[in-house]
Symmetry: C2
Subunit: 524 residues, 2 copies
């Protein structure tokens, strides 16, 4: 039976004759007038929010379960007006948000999803393409190549590095290490797997004690297990000790294990230390090990010409990850994974079932699904491209320089303060320090003082974060509880950094007075 073809297109409808929202048929999307009306309200809300992020406490003042309890247990039967949903967004959701946009957000690594990036996300959500194949999203595929080419050049990485965007550095590193595993001669992990291989020695992956936990997770996911991790010692500045790396490799080989990869970090999570990549690369070259560089945070700083050197040696890396969503003003999520030999990586993952085969003409085109685990891929390149264009190379560098300047101010202030102690160098925009009452200077290594200082700083952190004015996070460096001020937010100014330090000093002094008699049996 024949179905008569109808004309392809109906004439454009005028916006003025859009159906009334209260009268929408039960199929189809909402009318686009709803998008422009409520989208306009959302934009106005966002603008006011970004203009005055300090209205809100930076760390949400809710208890676990509080938002959940405020929401219905079940989805509504009938659709609700967008106006009501946006009301609830403002009244219920926002108060439960920890505000990464607050200029006092100095925890972990501060980030900014800048205005060009927000617009990019809006457009990407509207296009809603799936960039699994070139054919399904030529624009997303090629813009990903272009944007990552731009970024590669901004960072001074070799032109041979090809890239893809993953959601996070965790995924990027896992994918890179899967490629490293695939590159192990004779292992054929892709087909044969790792179990029941008595002829194959256990693999060893080297990383410093300061490397990110995502590397441990990658080893878990990839079936290597945490036992495969060899954690190399660090020097006094928390950089990988290359002599220890070499000793470990030799010992592992002697013990019948098989070293296969080293992860070097440019900008570790605790102190932002920079592993000596040139020396590590030399070891990797000699020992034929895959070199993966985790520059998720620090790498972006190479956009600043005078900081290019932070990526010295990275031209020899087999893979490298840098996260524009960390310090390149791009909204979550956007992690750039570069690979010097992309065919190894795609060889590990390429797998084309019949329903995803495309025609010969496209055989030379990139199919981004071959770059990792996820078949579906958002149009993440759009926001990154818009950010790089809107700021330009100079604008990106100026903003990173400003963060470096603010960190230097903080470090200088810490160094000058008798009641603060800096605990690590400051190669980037993160300052590690602690409160240390002046009269305890020189006694830090006494067990009682050490414990008191750790308790004092932990309590200070909670007190400072409780003010809602700033949010700091912590780490532990050589058994010392350490506070971190990490600057990565475009709205952070000198006054916020100064306020953070003032709050630490004020609360630490108070808490020291309260706690010292019990802790040390004496008053300050």
């Amino acid at each position: 039976m024949s179905i008569p073809p109808r004309p392809l297109s109906t004439p454009p409808r005028s916006p003025s004759i859009q159906p009334d929202p209260s009268n929408v048929p039960p199929v189809g999307d909402l009318p686009t007038s709803e998008l422009t009306r409520h989208g306009g309200r959302a934009l106005d809300w966002i603008a006011a929010y970004l203009d005055h992020p300090e209205r809100y406490p930076v760390l949400a003042r809710v208890r676990p379960g509080e938002l959940r309890a405020a929401l219905p247990a079940q989805a509504p039967d009938a659709g609700e007006p967008l106006a009501r949903i946006l009301d609830d967004f403002e009244q219920l959701i926002v108060p439960a948000v920890t505000h990464w946009n607050h200029p006092g957000f100095l925890a972990y690594f501060g980030i900014t999803g800048s205005i060009p990036g927000i617009l990019g996300e809006l457009l990407a959500a509207a296009l809603n393409v799936n960039a699994m194949l070139w054919r399904t999203a030529p624009a997303a595929t090629e813009l990903e190549e272009v944007a990552l080419g731009w970024l590669r050049d901004l960072l001074g990485l070799p032109a041979a590095f090809a890239g893809s965007i993953q959601d996070t550095a965790s995924a990027s590193s896992m994918v890179a290490l899967a490629a490293a595993r695939e590159a192990v001669p004779g292992l054929e992990a892709r087909t044969r797997g790792l179990l029941g291989r008595p002829d194959q020695a256990p693999l060893v992956l080297y990383l410093s004690t300061e490397a990110h936990s995502s590397i441990d997770k990658a080893a878990i996911a990839l079936g290597l297990g945490t036992d495969s991790l060899s954690k190399v010692a660090t020097d006094p500045d928390y950089r990988m000790d290359v002599a220890d790396l070499e000793r470990r490799i030799a010992a592992d080989r002697a013990a019948g294990k098989r070293p296969f990869a080293v992860v070097a970090t440019v900008g570790t999570t605790s102190t932002t230390s920079i592993d000596p990549v040139p020396a590590i690369a030399a070891v990797c070259g000699r020992e034929r090990l895959w070199l993966h560089v985790d520059a998720a945070y620090g790498g972006s700083a190479a956009v600043v010409p005078e900081l290019r050197h932070i990526l010295d040696g990275c031209q020899y890396a087999d893979s490298l990850v840098v996260n524009p969503h960390k310090w390149l003003f791009t909204p979550m999520d956007c992690s750039a994974l570069y690979c010097r030999r992309p065919s190894v990586l795609t060889g590990a993952f390429r797998l084309t079932p019949e329903y995803l085969r495309t025609t010969e003409a496209e055989a030379e085109a990139t199919n981004l699904m071959d770059w990792g685990v996820s078949l579906g891929r958002r149009f993440r390149a759009l926001k990154l491209w818009m950010v790089m264009r809107a700021y330009g190379r100079e604008g990106l560098a100026a903003r990173i320089r400003e963060h470096l300047r603010l960190a230097r101010i903080a470090a200088t202030a810490v160094d000058a303060a008798a009641d603060l102690e800096r605990l690590a160098p400051v190669p980037f925009s993160t300052v590690c320090f602690r409160a240390r009452p002046p009269d305890l200077a020189g006694q830090e290594d006494q067990e009682g003082v050490r414990l008191h200082l750790n308790a004092l700083n932990a309590a200070t952190l909670e007190a400072v974060n409780g003010t809602g004015e700033v949010f700091l996070s912590h780490t532990v460096l050589r058994e010392r509880t350490t506070l971190r001020i990490a600057i990565g937010n475009l709205r952070t100014e000198e006054r916020h950094v100064a306020r953070a330090l003032a709050l630490v000093r004020e609360h630490a002094a108070r808490l020291d007075r309260e706690q010292r008699p019990t802790a040390l049996g004496r008053k300050p």
Copy 2:
């Protein structure tokens, strides 16, 4: 040295005294007036785009490399105005887009990032929280729990199922199978890994020949290798043959291998067939195998009360994935991974370095980073929550029912047409068929005819897709090149389905006339 604290907040600035964009200092974000102005333009563009998606050919008319060549090879030195970037978006990017919003997009699985979902993405990009820890994003963490609870109930899954949002079903299935691997007694994959384990038999993972390639990728990533996959035969309707599953398990056990998990599919990618989950679950229970259900596409249909039965047996699953970004009108990416024993899953991945530890009060709160590989996590729940509220249970069901109705119309038309042949049942909204000239009916199994029909349908597909009016994809079913019409777009109407069939018939008839003399040595 003391840094004098400054007042925390400056008084709100009036929007009317926003700095002029041409005069923005080189640090800080763009002024928010840029967001509202250009965001308004973007919203207007999106509204016009969604009102008239048929302006564009559905499949982009660009050659590989064409967009790349049209863009500068390097990022600009100086920042560019947003107006120019949006101009380029419209003039360069959009023509290179394959339009998943086009109502004639009937390839793969049609999707819709609906208006409430687009607004959700806009707000999520603005908040730009990282939901790694409860503390860093209480709203995102709890809304993820709430939204997935709503969805679970909409689908009729047991309350014991806890969920998390992953980017794609590929990631969800990989994470689920990592949990399955972790649940293997004595294996301790997390710590000990899979290499150098002579005491551990190779694991076997069962899936049907129709299961999705993401399962193969998961086996690769997890270090099991494709050799660990046992592909179970299907019945004539492309459903897993449970007798074959049982035979394979018995044979593998007899051969000293270790069955550990079965992946059942509710809505396979080629034909949307539904594996007999109740029987598979019974086998898994008896054999103590992890049951993972891939309901990425089909699962959403359980929102329709009369289709609840498609998830029969899934209450016994250990894990289940359903993708709201596939058939629940949520923009990419949003994949819901449910787990009946979430502690097994989080036990496989939980790993808390010092810098991510939080205080005792929050120890009972969910930290979503424990649910998989990625530490960073966008606020993906917001769009899903907004979609479920804006449409409500009834609205979601009505829209899915409409797609089922359109698919029935297509199937009926195929069945009634002498020159079309349906090749699989239609349990959901996808129709598998091919062009088959009427005079070749009954001769399909002759080798020459079979090859001619495959070539004819491949050529027909390219010709139809070349019109720009519709986009179909293909698969191969029992060596027959098969065309698919997959309805999942809220803008698709009867006329688009009818047009797709008419185009197939028209081009197939023409191509048959052209090709048959060469292919079969005779005219049609």
